[in-house]
């Protein structure tokens, strides 16, 4: 047990926590943006998978990791746009449109992958992102090496959290987004384009989700496996509720999830005989418990799940 309190172990655990939290932070932030504007995007799981596949495919073909990230963001935007067309412009059920996008995108991701690579016995690999040690910071004892030797995509995720928070709470655009999510009739009356705002939030949110997926195939791993997302999109949906639609609290939830995921990996590495299935179950159970405690005081955007149609104003 002494190994558990070993400095190397602790530092490794911090690093693993940050890594495992990164894709969920991206996805959670993307979902917060969409839901703040009043749209629940259940397409998230499929969008992440398409992002993971596209990022991998583009990097494999072009040799450029950053081109892969950009492509993943682009494909996320396209799927966000499709979600906007179905749920915002046609006003279809957000639940069902989102699930439809997830099913469609999941099928498409596997289809395109097979189309391009066939069924190789050894999965093709790329040379993934390497971790960057920030000078000075990574020298901080105990926490430094874990926190500040990370992938650049992880650093970006950290920057994205305050950026989204400032956008939502401190800017005019954020005020418009929140008004659209709380009371679209009022937003419309004061001249905010409700449909356009929702569309843009879904598109930008989709880009975050795509990048979150690409992190898994371009940094965390170096190959694309069909179950690479493994429910992380659904976890992000739960983290949004857990975090009360706030970027910082949502990211905190993602960190807790990343910690458990990282701890599980580390304990396995030490050969401690805990069934990894039991460990991987914990985050889902914790999330459900969190949902129970949060749902009582949830500050859910008032217009979430409600399509907006001018003709039905006041109805």
């Amino acid at each position: 047990m002494a190994q558990l309190f070993d400095i190397a172990f602790l530092s490794g655990l911090i690093g693993a926590t940050m890594r495992m939290a990164t894709p969920i932070i991206y996805a959670t932030l993307g979902e917060i943006l969409a839901e703040r504007a009043g749209v629940l995007n259940l397409g998230i799981e499929g969008i992440m998978l398409m992002g993971a596949m596209t990022g991998f495919l583009v990097t494999f073909s072009s040799g450029s990791l950053w081109l892969g990230v950009v492509a993943a963001a682009g494909v996320g935007m396209l799927l966000g746009l499709l979600m906007a067309f179905l749920s915002v412009h046609l006003g279809l059920s957000q639940h069902v449109s989102g699930l439809g996008i997830t099913l469609f995108a999941t099928g498409l991701a596997m289809f395109v992958y097979r189309l391009h690579f066939g069924s190789p016995t050894v999965p093709p690999i790329i040379h993934p992102f390497s971790q960057i040690s920030l000078p000075f910071f990574s020298g901080i004892p105990l926490i430094g090496p874990g926190l500040f030797t990370q992938y650049s995509l992880t650093y970006f995720a950290w920057l994205l959290i305050p950026a989204l928070s400032i956008l939502l709470y401190k800017t005019n655009i954020g005020l418009k987004i929140r008004t659209v999510g709380e009371n679209p009739v009022v937003a419309d009356t004061v001249g905010v384009n409700v449909l356009l705002t929702r569309t843009l939030c879904l598109v930008v949110g989709g880009a975050f989700m795509g990048i979150g997926g690409a992190f898994l195939t371009l940094a965390h791993q170096n190959m694309f496996l069909i179950d690479v997302i493994g429910g992380r999109g659904w976890v992000a949906i739960a983290m949004v509720i857990f975090g009360n639609w706030d970027p910082f609290k949502g990211a905190l939830g993602a960190l807790i999830f990343g910690f458990l995921d990282g701890l599980q990996l580390r304990l396995q590495g030490l050969g401690i005989a805990v069934s990894f299935h039991i460990f991987l179950m914990i985050p889902y159970l914790l999330t459900i418990v969190a949902l129970i405690s949060v749902s009582r005081k949830a500050s859910i955007p008032a217009a979430l799940l409600k399509p907006y149609r001018r003709e039905e104003k006041g109805g």
Partner: protein, 353 residues
Amino acid sequence: MIRLRIAKRKPLPPWARVIIPVMAIVVTLILSAIPILLAGGQLWRSYFYLFYGALGTRFNLLETFVKGSPLILTGLAVAFAFRAKFWNIGAEGQLLAGALMATVLGVHLGGVPRPFALPIIITAGFLAGGVWAVIPAVLKTKLNVDDVVSTLLLNYVMWHIMGALLFGPLQQPGSSWPRSAAIVEAARYPMLLPRSRFHMGIIISFIAVFIIWIINNKTTFGYRSKAVGVNIRAAHFGGINTTAVIVWTALISGGLAALAGVGELCAIQYRLIMDISPGYGYTGIVIAMLGNLHPVGVLFSALFFSVIIVGAQTMSRMTGVPTYIAEVIQGMALMVMLVFLLFTEYRIRVMRK
């Protein structure tokens, strides 16, 4: 700039409820030409093998029913829950719960004659899935926890429970793979037609369609369940115990999904493996929507999907189009159907300005 104007329309005549899903399927098949062509498949040859592979020979036709059976059950499960606006995305986990229960009993029921063993397994499996669905129903009604999220998360919890058991107490002795021992002979569904896998579970799924139709249309519970789905507040003020209705709806829904798992275990696999279900629970959502949440609609859309899934195998072998085309078609079918359903309630006019 083009704007879409959407306005309510008068209810369509009853024949439209049949025509619209058929049109949605036709449009989906037309759209499927895009991925088929991208994959380099010749169009007519591909469509021919898609349908020949599913319907062309006796064995393939019966195989389409074999694949259809779990899809009918998960589709019914989702449709029954959605009708009451209990958003059960958890059919996958409930299916696994049923398969897990059937494994535990099936491995240990040696010595019990089949006429006793099968009813026990089916009932226990049904209840296992039902109880697994009741958990989110109680969370929803008592603690106000969103059912979409909780049912989704519980799928992963059940998957990991299954994994922990398959690496633990349920693991086949001597095996290093996550798989259980085979279930005893008495726990296996009888095969009904020679030289095929046409098993008792297929009959069970057809009976389930009939029973759900009876519940929906001929019983007070079916009426109440629908009333809760249409307007839960009005149902509450009308004197309906909405909590009880949602919990019972969840129990039946979860039980139906579990029967799919029991069938896959007792008629196809005979032992529990991690990939006992290739996402039947999620496909059930699409089937329920395509079937317009009506049991007969579910029956036909499940059979249509199984044609696509079974046919895609032959198509892939003959033309080289990846079998995942089946998933792409399913996803497109759902979205096309959604758009078509919109036409039943609204008129859409494209306006330029």
